[in-house]
Symmetry: C2
Subunit: 389 residues, 2 copies
């Protein structure tokens, strides 16, 4: 049965990028201000906060971030919890907020995601990120995330004939879309030739196949049907939510060309919404690496297994294609890990209400948002529909 009572009534993000001199709490506060005050929602209406953040302990030696952040943002005293599932942290916070509203325990809540990554060196960030894989069996012996997705890329290439050029085309599309997104880390188109520059990070993944190290925050206000009218005439309803997990270790996987948690979370979300992949007008999917986007579009059922690369080649996933994917710019927007899941929801919200400017997709009634974590061991999928659709 579709969820009935949860509405997004505002959504905003900070600029993503290397935000020198801007602290975690300052980014959070900026996103909150944009999603509340700037949207005409008084902060005093916010009853609780659900915050996604991956690894501030290692990046800025700060745990227990939730109360610190809400206090700094002027949301004094409200219940605030941090939710963590690596790159899927933001969507787990969103999902917890959905449950909070559907339970009837709250009417109006904040969902936010935030990460400050440029506080450490690139190798420091890589080491922190590696904590999202299994330290006992895999990351401790040298398997970093470019390595994980390099393996997935090789498997996809071997099984389906996907090429380095196919992945490069995902990067070209991401940078093209991001070029008109003023909040993106990179706002410059790149040529296919540039995307194919052989600066290998972990073969076959090259520089432009990898998401950058980024700072940023994103926030949304969710509210019940009764209260939604107070804030907007055009809420976006969350009608489906699914989550699944999978073994963290690649060595336990029977298939490296698909992520079972993505498939199961999508199925759960579609079932709840009573909809299918074909009913989605566009998708916002996790693209920590270009190959991740290709696999995600297959796992959420937009394309058959092995046909994700062809869809990119044919322009189907382009902003003006039949099934746009990551219309605001995907990995070129940046990937402040804990913020990404909520940023994805911000993108879907803005597209759905027709507020995406030059990045607006043509059909925008219903969207799927796919956020996964680490080696794909966590996945949260959310189905959203514009209130008047």
């Amino acid at each position: 049965m579709p969820l009935k009572n949860t509405n997004i009534v505002s959504a905003a993000q900070t600029k993503f990028g290397a935000l020198e001199g801007v602290t975690l709490r300052e980014m959070f506060s900026e996103a909150v201000d944009k999603a509340t005050i700037d949207a005409g929602i008084p902060k005093k209406d916010i009853q609780a906060a659900f915050i996604g953040s991956f690894i501030p302990e290692m990046l800025i030696h700060q745990g227990h971030t939730a109360p610190l952040l809400v206090d700094f943002a002027g949301l004094k005293g409200i219940p605030a919890t941090r939710h963590e599932a690596a790159c899927a942290s933001g969507a787990t916070a969103l999902r917890a907020a959905v449950m909070a509203i559907e339970s009837g325990m709250y009417d109006t809540v904040l969902v936010a995601g935030v990460e400050k990554m440029t506080s450490v060196s690139t190798s420091g960030a890589t080491e922190a990120l590696a904590a999202a894989a299994d330290d006992q069996f895999e990351s401790s012996i040298g398997l970093t995330f470019p390595g994980v997705f390099g393996i997935a890329a090789v498997a996809h290439m071997q099984k389906y004939g996907t090429t380095e050029e196919d992945m490069a085309l995902v990067a070209v599309k991401a940078h093209k879309n991001a070029s008109t997104n003023p909040l993106a880390q990179f706002q410059k188109e790149i040529t296919l030739e540039k995307a194919l520059t052989p600066r290998y990070i972990a073969w076959p993944l090259k520089l432009f196949d990898c998401s950058p190290i980024s700072d940023g925050a994103a926030a949304l206000v969710l509210t019940s049907n009764d209260k939604a009218k107070k804030y907007t005439d055009l809420p976006v309803k969350i009608i489906g939510s699914g989550q699944a997990s999978a073994s963290m270790n690649l060595c336990n996987r029977s298939d490296l060309t698909s992520f079972s948690a993505s498939v199961e979370a999508s199925r759960a979300a579609y079932n709840m919404a009573g909809l299918e992949a074909k009913d989605m007008d566009f998708g916002v999917v996790h693209d920590c690496f270009t190959i991740a986007e290709i696999i995600a579009t297959e796992d959420i059922g937009f394309f058959k297994p092995g046909e994700g690369a062809k869809a990119v080649r044919d322009g189907v996933t382009a902003l003006d294609g039949d099934r746009p994917i990551n219309p605001m710019g995907g990995l070129a927007v940046g990937h402040p890990v804990g913020a990404t899941g909520t940023k994805q929801a911000v993108v879907a919200y803005r597209e759905l209400i027709g507020d995406a400017g030059p990045n607006q997709v043509a059909k925008h009634d219903t969207a799927i948002v796919h956020n996964f974590g680490g080696t794909g061991a966590s996945c949260v999928v959310t189905i959203m529909r514009r209130g008047d659709a």
Copy 2:
């Protein structure tokens, strides 16, 4: 309005202590087995997991713990999220699970807490724990947690005349109760003289005023009314849940002898349950330090401000007193940070169903569980009532 649909149908913990050679995932798995298989609940009935863990990133370089843990524990593929609020992590996981059931999205879920702390040196653990305070303004300039609660103790002594002996009596009571708890880290009574041994950690707090560094896990199964009957004739109902936050920095506090988040979370939980402090038969409160227990018993309304110490002196909070507090042993049981909130719920459940053996309290219809985090910046309070009470 009291919560109506959430039942605890089983609860268990591992032994707490320095569990050499036992990994995070192994402790978790043991607690899960005890709370499921050993309680006659098939693992396949568990639909989702809500896991509290404070800082495995710094203690064992492992983030993204939730999917890793459920996979290892034989709960393959289920949605699993980690919830973090420093020492209150366990109770935030419990509260998220309550919302999940009250929302109707799940019937039967696992709540668990786990922490592996003895993997690092004592100074390593102290540094990790310090991440629960504000790194930008307080912990980075040397304020560790014994310091924080030393300050609270001094304030309480100055304002109310509380003495070092009063605090020592809390330690004596904790060790007495723990002496008959085979799962406790310390199972030996201590004399008042020993508790007063001047091994100062942060004046006026001495060794026995401080919780130890511990490993351990605890787990509960929660289920809706419809399903509860399948597992037990004597469920414990969660009828009230409150959470609040406060400024993390001591320098922002107007009062150091009370924690506003505790007061507000208690009020919210009592209001939801439609009950008052006088209706509680016993309490399980956060006692990371002895002074924390004294203040908590005041903040939850068991005693007036400043009268918590007298209650200890008069034996009111003893196992056989009128208002027992921490009847299974409190800080002498150990404090594996992320596990503590769920361990507290395990204690309340066992007392409520009359399964506490030599630690059984006389009146056991209704209980309050108080779990707070860090400098008191987070607090979650849960009101539980035996199903037939």
